[in-house]
């Protein structure tokens, strides 16, 4: 069985492959890195750095974008 670790993405617990980078995580979620902003443990990770940051168990990740608003 594939080993996974638990992270919190947008408030939801998700099992993910240990050691993946944020860029790989976005690919797994089928999200285009150009259209989302990533916050990793309360720190914004700029797009060029997404491939350099690996995700660990217990991490909190927020993926945001622009929606309709006033």
């Amino acid at each position: 069985m594939k080993q996974t670790v638990d992270v919190v993405i947008n408030g939801e617990h998700k099992p993910i492959t240990p050691g993946v980078t944020l860029l790989e995580l976005l690919a797994e979620l089928e999200l285009d890195p150009r259209t989302v902003v990533v916050e990793h443990n309360r720190r914004i990770v700029r797009r060029p750095a997404l491939a350099e940051v690996t995700v660990a168990a217990g991490d909190a990740i927020e993926l945001v974008h622009f929606v309709g608003g006033g």
């Binding site: 700029r46 927020e62 945001v64 974008h65 622009f66 929606v67 006033g70």
Partner: protein, 265 residues
Amino acid sequence: MTTAVETLRDAPLTIGGRTFQSRLMVGTGKYPDMDTMVRAIDTSGAEAVTVAVRRVNLDRSKETSVLHFLDPKRFFLLANTAGCYTAADAVRYARLAREAGFNDFVKLEVIGDEETLLPDVQGLLEAAKILVQEGFKVLAYTNEDLVTALRLEDAGCAAVMPLASPIGSGLGLLNPLSVRTIKRRLHVPVIVDAGVGTASDACVTMEQGVDGILMNTAIAAAQDPVAMAHAMRLATIAGRTAYLAGRMPRREVAMPSSPTQGMLD
């Protein structure tokens, strides 16, 4: 802005070094559907549109990104911090918005009360100072209090945005004197944000001499949002033009418009 009157020369609206062709700015929320939103915004003639920062929907069945429908090359995206109740939250949202990579403008909202959605001016000032320090062009949504507006200008805000009436209320401009006073005393642009309900509200607001107006619900929640967007475009221009034209003085007694001479015996 074109007023269609040759004698009236109006300088374009410039905020934080960015020039806008329209004095009407519109929100992108609460439309019945995205197609109506796109057509209404197009009809409004607005160049700046506000957007909110929210979590991506992880199940990809629903496309919620507003950028899927509005071309960011054509519209100036003004991100807001709507829904934030503390300075810290507003700063967090503003930083995320800037990272989207479009501009360093933010429509700063720090809300202090759930029922009225009135701003928490203490939190607002605190957040404004931090964001200005970080290089943001801050457009601060505030109430119609002159002293707060002056403090926001002192803090380095690029524009101050007093409300006409509470967000989404459609009550129109409740305090024209206060808004006029803010406009008279500030040097940065004053954009009235929130509370207009129909075209006459927009017109009366612009007649106060403010630099612009921002609205969302008045268009989005109209029975025909596209037609209301058209009305708002005209009302904004009408109000601005009337302000530039200079209204006649008010008087409490009548004065005949027809000659009093030449009457028959």
